[in-house]
C-alpha cells in the first residue's frame, strides 16, 4: 500500500496571510494617491501583479486568481458578488476592502489547490 504524504503543514487556504500580503500591496501602490484616470490602468495592473508575485512566494501549491476593482468615490452605488464551485476543504477566497479620500478599492483573491 502506498503512503500518501501531505507536504504542507496546514490544510486549506490561509486567508489571513493572503489578506496581509494584498493589503500591503494596495497600500504601497495607492497610498497617498488621488483618483487619476490616466494612472488607474497602471495602478490596477501593479496591485494585481505584485499581489500575485507575493502570493507565489509563499510556495504553496495553489493556482491564484486575483481581481481588483477601483471605483472613484462618489454618491453612486456599486455592488460585487461571487459564487464558487470548488472543494471547500482545500480552496479558499479572501477579499480586501481599502479606501481613501477619493477612491474605493476591492481586491478578491481566489486560491485553488493543485493536488500533487
Amino acid at each position: 500500500m502506498e503512503e500518501y504524504h501531505r507536504h504542507c503543514d496546514e490544510v486549506g487556504f490561509n486567508a489571513d496571510e493572503a489578506h496581509n500580503i494584498v493589503k500591503e500591496c494596495v497600500d504601497g501602490v495607492l497610498g497617498g494617491e488621488d483618483y487619476n484616470q490616466n494612472n488607474i490602468n497602471q495602478w490596477t495592473a501593479s496591485i494585481v501583479e505584485q499581489s500575485l508575485t507575493h502570493l507565489v512566494k509563499l510556495g504553496k501549491a495553489y493556482k491564484y486568481i486575483v481581481t481588483c476593482a477601483v471605483v472613484q468615490r462618489s454618491a453612486y452605488g456599486f455592488h460585487t458578488a461571487s459564487s464558487c464551485f470548488w472543494d471547500t476543504t482545500s480552496d479558499g477566497t479572501c477579499t480586501i476592502r481599502w479606501e481613501n479620500r477619493t477612491m474605493n478599492c476591492i481586491v478578491n483573491v481566489f486560491a485553488i489547490a493543485i493536488v500533487l
Binding site: V11, G12, I65, V70, R73, A75, A81, D87, I112
Partner: protein, 178 residues
C-alpha cells in the same frame, strides 16, 4: 470627512466537503444624507456551518492517480459567453438601478450563472463566477484581474451589460482540477 466605520467580514473557507458553494456579497452603497455620506457594510449571505464529522473524514481522503495529463474535454467558452449574455440581459433589461434590488441581484446572478454553467457537466473543472453591478453615472471605475494558472486547460470569459441606468459585469473563471 471620514465615514462611519464599516464591518468587514471576509468569507472563510468552508469545512464541509462536497463542493458546496460559498456565496459572498460585498457592496458599496453610498447615499448623500445632507452633508454626510454613509458606507453600507459588507455581508455574507450564505455560509455552511462546519461539522465535526467532516474533520475526521477530511484526514482520511486519498486520491489515486488517474495518469491523466490534461482535460479530456475543454471548456466551451462560446457556450459560456451565450449563457452570460442571456442571463444578464434577461434579468437586467428592464431594471432601473435601486440599491436594495441590485444588492440582491448580484448574489442571484452569481448563483444563476454558476448553476447554468454547472449543468454543462464538464468534468474536473472548478468554477468561480464574479458579478459586479453599478449605477451608470459620471463616476469612473476600473476593474482588472490576473490569473496564475495553466493556460492550456484554464480559461476565463466575461460579459458587460449596460442599460440606461446601470451596468453589470459578469466573469466566469474555469480552473481544471488536476
Amino acid at each position: 470627512m471620514m465615514s462611519d466605520s464599516a464591518k468587514d467580514r471576509a468569507l472563510h473557507s468552508l469545512r464541509k466537503k462536497g463542493g458546496l458553494s460559498p456565496l459572498s456579497g460585498l457592496e458599496f452603497h453610498r447615499r448623500e444624507v445632507q452633508a454626510r455620506s454613509k458606507d453600507s457594510v459588507s455581508s455574507v449571505s450564505y455560509v455552511d456551518e462546519p461539522s465535526q464529522r467532516d474533520e475526521i473524514s477530511r484526514l482520511t481522503v486519498r486520491m489515486e492517480n488517474t495518469y491523466q495529463l490534461g482535460p479530456m474535454k475543454h471548456f466551451p467558452m462560446v457556450i459560456i459567453n451565450c449563457i452570460l449574455k442571456d442571463v444578464l440581459t434577461n434579468y437586467l433589461q428592464e431594471e432601473k438601478y435601486k440599491p436594495e434590488l441590485c444588492r440582491q441581484m448580484t448574489k442571484t446572478l452569481s448563483e444563476v450563472i454558476k448553476t447554468q454553467v454547472k449543468e454543462l457537466m464538464i468534468p474536473r473543472y472548478k468554477l468561480i463566477v464574479v458579478t459586479h453591478i453599478g449605477q451608470l453615472k459620471d463616476q469612473s471605475l476600473f476593474i482588472g484581474s490576473r490569473c496564475l494558472w495553466d493556460p492550456k486547460s484554464d480559461t476565463v470569459s466575461s460579459y458587460i451589460f449596460r442599460n440606461s441606468s446601470l451596468f453589470a459585469l459578469a466573469s466566469v473563471y474555469a480552473v481544471y482540477s488536476e
